[in-house]
Amino acid sequence: VSALRGLLEGAPSRVVTVGVDLLAQALDDQAVTVDRVDWRPPLGGDAVAGALSAVMSDARRDAANRTALARLLGAGAELVDVVPASEALGLERGTFLHAGPPIAWDRASGPLRGALLGAMVLEGLAASPEQAETLLAAGAGITLDPCHHHHAVGPMAGVISPSMWGFVLRDPVHGGTAFCTLNEGLGKVLRYGAYGPEVIERLQWMARVLGPLLQQAVRRRVDGTGPVDIRSIVAQMLQMGDEGHNRNRAGTMMLVRELVPELLDLGAPSGDVADVVRFCNGNDHFFLNLVMPACKLALDAARDVPGSTMVVAMARNGTDFGIQVSGTGSQWFTAPANTPNGLFLGDFGPDDANPDIGDSAITEAGGIGGFAMAAAPAIVRFVGGEADDAIATTRRMYDITLGEHPAYQVPVLGFRGTPTGIDVTAVVRTGVLPMINTGMAGRVAGTGQVGAGLVSPPESCFTQALDALADRAR
């Protein structure tokens, strides 16, 4: 080896730089090729150094993360039934589940309040939204609880009340079960905080016609050829331009394709069957409510592995963003939710948007959604940006994930598995935050959807989680 690795034998052909650009620029000015490495100090600065080293040197960490990741990647997801929440979850009248970490009425955001008002009316607990507001503010006889505490997930406000129908999914590998409501469509819908008469009427029709017909079709399918393999449809939709969070068009069509023969065979009134097929087909997000519980199953399977630094839930209630981590049990690490950046519907603008809301970030925790944006370049027409941004986003997420999904693949990246299993230590070390594709709800209760865009969790969810992991490190 020559002295100083040949540095004196001529100008280096390439130089790698880190940190402030001034020095890289000085090399540029002298016609040296510079590879700038985007490195930043860890999130939280010097304060996290002790916690970071404690967690990184936890002897259990590698094996624990391998276990958690293997469960996440290996989980199956089959659609086995369609039932009301009262039946699936044992929900009592007066109990309402909601998206995100725990929250009470006094801190609830506009869209969550709007959805609760609508649900009160739907359940017959209030004659009007005004009366519902009074009752909810008083709180007597009302219980609010996160969907996540009941093996359930709900998009946007995520409100689940006993009479709402939903999908039951089962993980045949680990035996878990997950529940998610039926998707109402876009625009003025309950999950975006709208609660007008048309919203309630749609929910009543869903409970009267849509739910029961889907139940019969799904049960007929289970009895005939077996449950619908949702994991397989998710794998296919990524090959067809969906990312499973904000673009579910191909997934929806594939689900309809699976269920139409069963629906036709039920002997139900043809008008009802047509209405059901028209409703499902007409809502490009219908399949989101199957992707979410599929991811929930996989992440629930990965819970409670001591020493694991893998994120098992990311969820928002419209006020707070919360994450849960495999190695820290059911503890939430919360911070005020950010407001998404993106594109707005009609005359709405940034001032109309509520902070981030919904359990749908379960998709990103499961390695799809924003993490699989490269598979869905058309998504940028919905959330903003350029097609290259979608590819860059997916590539960046590999920096903070533990592995690649064997079934969920991105064609444009050479069928590389999607970045899966968010590692708290990687997020803190790199400062790269998970990228979430999301819808935007109106800030004011009753508004509905105002747009769609991209958002990241607050940094402190991850630094708090790191502290808790450090407390338990061995």
Binding site: S2, A3, L4, L7, L8, E9, V20, L22, L23, A26, L27, D29, Q30
Partner: protein, 291 residues
């Protein structure tokens, strides 16, 4: 390097060793590698080792290594009673067949204020060391955050609130204690420029010595900020002189001539030689005329 360039000597390689390399604790680890590499470089005729005050045993070991490598070395290691860097540069230039004794200066002769205090506000630690050695011979003890001996220590930890009173003092703004959470003063001289105003307003201060170092990776136009700061420091101050040590060559991206002209037009006396600048600043406040 800037002095050698002015003297017509080509500089083939410039290797940074690190400010503490020739200390007993570090033992010249970088210098050893550099000498080995330069010995293998056919185009190198002479090596100049420049250092802050060095450990004599480390220097001896390096001298033995250079002899074994058959490498011609000039030592420009600072220390009490040792030649300053300008003298070392003159020696190198003469050895390579050149000759220069006239180091360029720009700007007006400065106000003499015998008996008042000298302040040095430096970005470069080695330049600060050299200035303290040169000025110290003319003025006596100089306090500093990088003192030549421990009893001269000046505590500058209370951001901008230190006061050396009527003592002579020189501060290295590139020292670790003053670069926490901010860029090196060669890149961001804001802290030093603020201090210039504080010192200029102190009636006990008669001369201020500043350094400006040009080159790639340094501030893109230091005189644009320092010039007005100097002009405002001198404005209405009847007993103050400002001397600038300008390290640079015409090849530097900042425009060497323009930097010198801007600083001189602001009212400072500008020297290419740091030792000459330190001498000029010291003489401006020295009580008795040179014999």
């Amino acid at each position: 390097m800037a002095l050698l360039a002015h003297g017509g000597v080509g500089v083939r390689h410039c290797l940074g060793l690190g400010g503490r390399d020739l200390s007993a604790a570090v033992g010249g680890r970088s210098a050893r590698q550099a000498l080995t590499a330069l010995a293998a470089d056919a185009g190198t005729e002479l090596v100049v080792v420049v250092s802050k005050p060095a450990d004599p045993d480390v220097v001896s070991a390096l001298e033995r290594q250079a002899a074994e490598l058959d490498l011609a070395v000039e030592w420009a290691t600072l220390g009490p009673g040792r030649p300053d860097l300008t003298s070392a540069a003159e020696r190198v230039i003469e050895r390579l067949g050149g000759r220069t004794r006239l180091w360029p200066t720009w700007g007006p002769v400065q106000q003499r204020s015998p008996g008042l205090a000298l302040r040095g506000l430096f970005c470069g630690g080695t330049l600060c060391d050299e200035a303290m050695l040169v000025a110290g011979e003319l003025l006596g003890p100089i306090r500093s955050n990088i003192p030549l001996s421990p009893e001269l220590a000046l505590d500058v930890s209370g951001a901008g609130r230190w006061d050396a009173g009527s003592d002579h003092a020189m501060v290295d703004f590139g020292d670790d204690a003053l670069t926490q959470g901010r860029a090196h003063p060669m890149i961001d001289p804001a802290l030093r420029d603020e201090r210039l105003a504080v010192e200029a307003a102190d009636p006990r201060v008669g001369a201020i010595l500043l350094d400006v170092v040009l080159g790639h990776g340094s501030h893109p136009d230091p005189a644009a900020e320092l010039g007005p700061a100097i002009a405002s420091a001198l404005d209405g101050a009847s007993r103050l002189g400002v001397v600038v040590s300008l390290t640079g060559t015409p090849a530097d991206p900042q425009g060497f001539g323009r930097q010198a002209a801007t600083l001189a037009e602001a009212g400072a006396q500008v020297h290419l030689s740091n030792a000459a600048a330190a001498r000029a600043a010291a003489l401006a406040v020295r009580s008795e005329e040179l014999s």
